[in-house]
Symmetry: C2
Subunit: 126 residues, 2 copies
DNA sequence: CGGAATCCGTTACGATACTG
DNA sequence: CAGTATCGTAACGGATTCCG
């Protein structure tokens, strides 16, 4: 994606734009908290507090921050119920579920290689 | 993966260990630079400088740092040729190539949703 | 050329407190 | 309950320099 080389020609202008957009999105999405939130949501609709309970170790602040980012990119849908106390629900959108599939695979990969990585770490001498 | 709830029973001890190990690995791997390096390597063997040229925007420091981390986790193999000037080559290991497949999918996903995300961003009012 | 170490500004992040 | 704001600290990350 990001590894293309461009000439100075004006025709490349939109290619450059697409490429830097791709990089932006990738940077947004390729981070620990975002991926764990997406994984936690899965096919379900969860409230703010429920996500916080699922994603262990995440702080209130990081959760809101990442949820806003995911919403901005159209990967999660935010539904506010005007009740008191407030109830806010989050759901993955179509594209969000698509991304989730790749995160699933990454989690599977992690599980499959726990042992290999553990022993590799033990062997590793800087 | 990370979303399990444990009781206080001693039998859960190794489950906890595996879980926290999984989290560690996930945190290592789910970051922008690591994934871009893995993507850049692909099936090829590349020298340090070649990777730096492929992964645009990465600094000398971030590259060495992430390569060390990937090596420690057994995802890349590092080969030093004792010449002068030195020549150091990096290749994905088996597990590394496995992870790369999931990164490929994530890159594909990014490309497929460029437009959707772009318009979602335009619409988004905080 | 690749790597380590240094300096230093920027961001990430947690803790806390306050609002509707 | 969810969100915003503020503050302090720790980690990130870039630029630079020196070494094999």
């Amino acid at each position: 994606m990001v590894t293309k080389q461009f000439s100075g020609l004006p025709e490349d202008a939109d290619l450059r734009r697409a490429d830097s957009l791709a990089r932006e999105i990738f940077s947004d999405v390729a981070n620990k908290w975002a991926l764990l939130i997406i994984e936690a949501l899965g096919e379900r609709t969860l409230r703010f507090g429920e996500i916080r309970d699922e994603v262990e170790g995440i702080s209130h602040k990081m959760l809101t921050q990442n949820l806003r980012m995911l919403e901005r990119n159209g990967l999660v849908e935010r539904n506010v119920h005007p009740t008191v106390p407030p109830k806010v629900e989050y759901t993955l959108t179509g594209p969000g579920r698509g991304l989730r599939e790749t995160v699933d695979l990454m989690c599977d990969w992690t599980q499959r290689h726990l042992r290999h990585i553990e022993t590799s770490r033990d062997r590793f001498r800087p």
